[in-house]
């Protein structure tokens, strides 16, 4: 009897340890882990961010604007001929690939170059890509505050002839409808990896699953 009780508690104990280990693995390394390629520089949940910006139509926006729908957010600047048009072209292609489903996604480009990227400049620029893409700008201080929440880095680099360019974090951040970070689409990763990641952010946003 004593022996049987011992066996039972022992088994229960082992099961509890196994469940704990499994849960830990699931969240850290398993399918439940956010796939981050940026070391410890992962964006905060949108709900922990606090910033105000202006969209390309002059409306005030902030992290709360994005809550309630899955979101795709990236930082760039419209004077860049390479990374930003490439990213915007890719995003336009992904949105087309998702078809009608894409309608629920917030898709936002936040500028790291508020000096040149006025709301008007943003409006002109995003107009060349998928109509769902929004452009957000603000004062240099507002942009710095937003970038801090997303843990985005950027710096101004002087070019010959008095011009300048910007170095910046180029990944695309995916958040679910609750504002939790789901994953990051790296600028250099193969394009075919992107759609499953976006679908995952959208699935996590369906009622009852998130």
């Amino acid at each position: 009897m004593r022996r049987r009780a011992l066996l039972r508690y022992g088994t229960l104990g082992l099961a509890a340890v196994a469940v704990t280990l499994f849960a830990g693995w699931w969240q850290v390394e398993g399918p439940g882990a956010p796939d981050i390629a940026m070391g410890d520089r992962r964006p905060l949940p949108l709900t922990n961010m606090d910033f105000t910006l202006t969209d390309h139509e002059g409306r005030p926006v902030g992290p709360e604007t994005l809550i309630g729908r899955p979101s795709l957010v990236f930082f760039g600047f419209t004077w860049c001929p390479q990374v930003c048009p490439t990213t915007l072209a890719d995003i336009s292609h992904w949105l087309d690939g998702l078809g009608a489903e894409a309608g629920i996604l917030n898709t936002v480009l936040i500028t790291v170059d508020p000096e040149r990227d006025t709301a008007q400049a943003m409006a002109e620029y995003v107009g060349y890509f998928h109509p769902q893409i929004r452009g957000w700008t603000g004062t240099p201080a507002q942009i710095a505050r937003a970038a801090e929440g997303f843990r985005v880095r950027y710096e101004k680099v002087a070019l010959d002839g008095g011009n300048y360019t910007m170095n910046h974090t180029a990944g695309v951040f995916l958040f679910d409808a609750t504002g939790a970070l789901v994953s990051i689409i790296d600028f250099h990763e193969p394009r075919e990896f992107a759609l499953p990641k976006i679908r995952r952010a959208m699935e996590r946003s369906e009622p009852g699953t998130g």
């Binding site: 390629a37 940026m38 070391g39 520089r41 419209t78 004077w79 001929p81 390479q82 990374v83 048009p85 490439t86 915007l88 072209a89 890719d90 336009s92 292609h93 002109e124 620029y125 060349y128 890509f129 998928h130 880095r153 950027y154 710096e155 680099v157 070019l159 010959d160 002839g161 011009n163 360019t165 170095n167 910046h168 974090t169 180029a170 990944g171 990051i184 790296d186 600028f187 250099h188």
Partner: protein, 152 residues
């Protein structure tokens, strides 16, 4: 006597030059394209594949076009923190029998100081300059701003 002296000097300089690379005639330029621009204030971009069909390495030292005052080859790199930056490449070597792709996300020609807007459907002449002084000129078609390449 004097002209002869200069000729001798030039010849001796040529003789002292490093091993001669294959010339630009061995390079085939494929799939060139550009994105349309918004006006002229922002820089433009050009992409292409440079294929060296010769038996010697070829060095690309620059680009020339009347579309932009300062066309330059840039590399795109991303550091461990995910920050992407552009760096100016003074020269790009193409190994014998190899190809170098200038493509979205990597090497590209940045067209600084545009002289006119780049309009979708039009094209312009771009010359690739090689280390031996030869040039190869191509017509670059301008695709839409949201294009991802000629095959898109």
């Amino acid at each position: 006597m004097r002209p002869f002296g200069i000729a001798t000097l030039v010849l001796s300089l040529l003789a002292a030059a490093p091993p001669v690379l294959a010339d630009g005639d061995d390079v085939v330029i494929e799939d060139a394209w550009s994105r349309a621009s918004i006006g002229t204030s922002r820089p433009g971009v050009a992409y292409m594949t440079l294929r060296n069909t010769g038996a010697e390495p070829v060095m690309v030292t620059g680009m020339r076009t009347d579309l932009a005052m300062m066309p330059m080859i840039h590399a795109t790199t991303t550091d461990a923190q995910g920050v992407t930056r552009m760096s100016h490449m003074e020269e790009v070597e193409i190994a014998a029998g190899e190809a170098v792709a200038l493509a979205p996300g990597g090497l590209h020609v940045m067209l600084m100081d545009l002289q006119r807007p780049m309009v979708e459907g039009e094209s312009y002449t771009l010359s690739v300059i090689f280390a031996d002084g030869t040039e190869a000129s191509i017509q670059v078609p301008i695709l839409g701003m949201a294009s991802r390449g000629p095959a898109d």
